[in-house]
């Protein structure tokens, strides 16, 4: 193992233990690691967004335009100028200019969202919910499959009823809503279980690093 790999393991082990030290109580080691994490993460985010967004889509075409004389790349000056308007926030007199890039990004995001959400989340999800009924009509679905198909539709309708506030939840609506809560709790329970397993997997990975790579107690 080379020198820098060894230093890297010791640095990573120190930072890992510093963060876990908060389980006992707040202390200077945890605060150091916490603040370092913020700084390093922000720095990493900036570098990544510059090299994955600004450089390939703006600076590179602009530089090609300057060197070759082709005029197409000059269009990149428009988003660069729009982006620079974000810094108007730093001048109290010109703060209102920040509304321009925000309005463009929000308009862009809303415009992108409408057809995509309609397609992926409404049509496809609805199709997936009622598709098994075509198999029921064709007689190709087993008895248990029919139960699952009915359960699926019932679950979706009851969950939607729980979130439907245009009518008062009384009588049948109340009962549909109560069943909807039960389905939601099963959904949240699944998410909770999967999250716990994901975090425990991370914990096992960190303990494996400390005992294996650092202390070499396990191979």
């Amino acid at each position: 193992m080379d020198f820098w790999s060894l230093i890297g393991i010791w640095v990573a082990a120190f930072l890992t233990l510093s963060i876990y030290s908060v389980l006992y109580r707040d202390n200077p080691f945890y605060r150091f690691a916490e603040h370092l994490f913020v700084g390093v993460s922000v720095g990493y985010g900036i570098v990544l967004s510059v090299y994955q967004g600004l450089v390939p889509f703006a600076l590179k075409p602009l530089w090609e335009t300057v060197t070759t004389g082709a005029p197409e790349g000059f269009i990149k000056l428009i988003p660069i100028c729009i982006g620079l308007l974000f810094f108007a926030r730093l001048s109290p007199r010109h703060t209102w200019l920040i509304r321009y890039p925000i309005a463009i990004l929000i308009g862009y995001g809303s415009g992108i969202a409408i057809p995509n959400v309609l397609r992926a989340n409404i049509f496809e999800q609805t199709r997936g919910t009622i598709a098994p009924f075509a198999e029921i009509a064709a007689g190709t679905l087993s008895g248990w499959g029919v139960v699952e198909a009915i359960l699926m539709v019932a679950g979706v309708i009851c969950t939607l009823t729980y979130f439907f506030f245009s009518v008062e939840h009384r009588g049948p609506v109340k009962w549909l809503s109560k069943v909807g809560i039960a389905f939601l709790m099963i959904g949240f329970g699944s998410a909770f279980g999967n999250t716990v397993m994901g975090r425990v997997a991370l914990l096992i990975q960190r303990v494996d690093f400390l005992l294996g790579d650092w202390l070499r107690i396990i191979s």
């Binding site: 150091f32 390093v40 990544l48 660069i80 308009g107 809303s110 415009g111 995509n116 999800q125 699944s190």
Partner: protein, 207 residues
């Protein structure tokens, strides 16, 4: 100028993005792809502004000598080192990769693994609630967790993983579909309100 132009810009970009997605013509597809690239160009500027705000906040902490102000220097050190090495030597540089692999990645994983401890106490509190809904949540979580680990199948003769899969594919999926449909309808209505200028909260206060 201060409020009307942003509303017009929002409308124009919103409508353009909707129509270009429905038109297969090369001109409209060209506009669509170009505007997507524009968003990728504008994004980093917003991130840099956020970083400037972070620097201002920590500079103020140091100036006012608020509690734990010394740690603000640690934020600056991490930020400056990452940005200088990453921007000037490029992200493929071994030094930048070393920092990512031995500083950021371990801290990231450790921070997220901390939640394993906190989630355990959350589960304990949910158990204490003793309501039907809380019990349903915890029993589902328990089955999903047992179905995820080999010991669960060993103890239940493969029933745990089958039960987990059935829960994920049926009641869990129907609840998720209900939530997705509700959220999506909300997203669409809010997007229409934004594009038409009915929803203007993103403009902020003032004139």
């Amino acid at each position: 100028m201060k409020r009307q132009v942003p509303l017009v810009l929002c409308f124009v970009f919103g409508i353009a993005m909707i129509f270009t997605q429905f038109s297969p013509h090369s001109f409209s597809q060209g506009i669509y792809e170009e505007v997507i690239r524009w968003a990728l160009i504008i994004g980093p500027f917003a991130l840099v502004l956020a970083t400037v705000t972070l620097i201002q906040t920590h500079t103020a902490r140091i100036r006012r000598r608020t509690e734990h102000w010394q740690y603000s220097f640690v934020v600056f050190a991490g930020l400056i080192v990452m940005v200088l090495i990453g921007i000037f030597l490029k992200p493929q540089n071994p030094m930048f990769e070393w920092l990512y692999n031995n500083v950021q990645l371990p801290m990231d994983a450790t921070m997220f693994s901390l939640l394993a401890f906190f989630i355990a106490s959350a589960a304990y509190r949910a158990f204490r609630a003793r309501t039907f809904e809380a019990s349903l949540l915890l029993i589902t979580a328990l089955i999903v967790m047992m179905g995820n680990v080999p010991v669960g199948d060993l103890l239940s003769n493969d029933t745990a993983s089958k039960a987990r899969q059935w829960i994920l594919d049926n009641p869990n999926l129907s609840a998720r579909r209900g939530i997705i449909l509700g959220v999506s309808l909300g997203v669409i209505s809010q997007s229409i309100r934004i594009i038409l200028g009915i929803e203007r909260s993103y403009l902020g206060g003032g004139d």
